[in-house]
Symmetry: C2
Subunit: 246 residues, 2 copies
DNA sequence: CAGTGGTCTAGACCACTAG
DNA sequence: TAGTGGTCTAGACCACTGT
């Protein structure tokens, strides 16, 4: 191990460390307010930017959440489970956040984006029926998703713009004999870009999870593909799957 | 929409935006060096900290990687696929990174941590056989994992410390009639803590993925549980699973 | 209004890397 | 040694929030 011993922590590191243990060991519970910049400056005899830097470390670790003009607070680390095999995958909408919860939804027909075309086995430029959803929980968006169905199938299953009918696209596909029998999901994780974070009203340093899902009917035909973006701090993703024999 | 128009971007935002589009549209390819602090100061007539702040935005978005004394560079966004149903789940070790690749491994017997005991259906304080792995790719650790097997099963399957035999624990369990038949995985995403990031030699703002996996034999007995920590920027996780009839 | 965090400056010193 | 990024200071002004 050529790891150099941490020797003497820098001022901002020392402050960050002390605050962090307070959070992790529970002395500072979720929602609790941290010592502010001004008091940190006095208590540790450091300059403004140094106190700020310490607080920035914690925010970058996703431990805190900053409210301008108010203060710095410990984040709520609770998560909602998303079980991929279930329908709907997200059973309960985030109960942790007070305030209104809802889903915004629009539908239209577009030419399939490249990666969606690939997932659905379509040729470039083919039409798909698209439904875009946006889920709110409290003040922030917790989920954004786009569902794509090949145009031919959509027509066959009587799926039209603006109205997927009772039970959603699932039910229509089922009625048309294309009930989804198995699915594939590809998960990617990354940090949101700044404009994106604002759009999703993501606060602090929170990773984003993107899920590209493809559903197949019992004949192996790709019947729908969806792309979902989740606030990574609010979900736990769960999968159940069989293992191959050999 | 009550979203206020961005009006006039702040100096640091403007700099960050210009650099970002350069990266996203490909003018600045992976590995390319960005304009440094000093030149940004002159080119935009801003102070040190302002130029630094612009660069920090990109680093926080996981787009760049900073090498002290050298410069700021565009990250390589390529990922390795981890297919949960396959064995091993990670087919190819990161081909993108030159340099040595390897796995460090130690095994011992310990009392099961609480969440592992829960996953394996053990009572608190029961013994498990543990194997800890650490995978390197180039300079950085790309994976850390701990595998737990109930002591009783480990004995039955002739799994001992320091030597899991050819084919690993899988093969031993199989021979003992406890071949894993299905698995459950729970995925969580978060930002690494500072000490943790140093330990994993994670550079820049990169989310971490933790996977808690439990394998069951055909009788539904939990035969092994594992906890894996991945550098979220380097992997794409893939799942294939059947969907329920109803 | 007082208190909070957000941005910015000008200048200093340090640590690391390469040629 | 020259050039890079990392830390820190002291002070300024702004924007937002609550009372």
């Amino acid at each position: 191990m050529e790891v150099p011993v941490p020797s003497k922590p820098l001022p901002y590191e020392r402050i960050a460390n002390e605050l962090r243990v307070g959070i992790i060991d529970g002395r500072l519970a979720a929602g609790a307010q941290l010592t502010g910049e001004n008091e940190l400056m006095q208590r540790y005899s450091v300059a403004r930017e140094t106190a700020r830097k310490a607080l920035r470390v914690l925010r970058d670790e996703g431990l805190t959440l900053t409210r301008r003009g108010v203060g710095v607070f410990v984040r709520d680390a609770r998560r909602v489970s998303r079980h991929a095999s279930r329908n709907p995958a997200i059973a309960a909408v985030d109960e942790t956040s007070a305030g209104m919860v809802g889903v915004e939804e629009v539908a239209d027909n577009v030419t399939a984006p490249e990666h969606i075309a690939r997932a659905l086995g379509l040729r470039e430029g083919e039409l798909v029926c698209r439904r875009v959803q946006r889920q709110y929980a409290g003040v922030s968006t917790t989920r954004r998703s786009a569902l794509y169905i090949p145009m031919g199938l959509a027509v066959e299953a009587s799926i039209t713009e603006l109205d997927f009918g009772p039970g959603g696209a699932e039910a229509r596909l089922r009625e048309a004999g294309h009930a989804p029998a198995r699915a594939n999901e590809v998960i990617r994780v990354r940090m949101p870009f700044r404009p994106e974070a604002e759009d999703m009203r993501i606060e602090g340093a929170v990773p984003i999870v993107t899920i590209l899902r493809t559903d197949y009917d019992r004949n192996g035909l790709a019947v729908q593909a969806s792309e979902t973006v989740l606030d990574g701090s609010r979900y736990a993703l769960e999968y159940d799957f069989p293992l191959p024999e050999a």
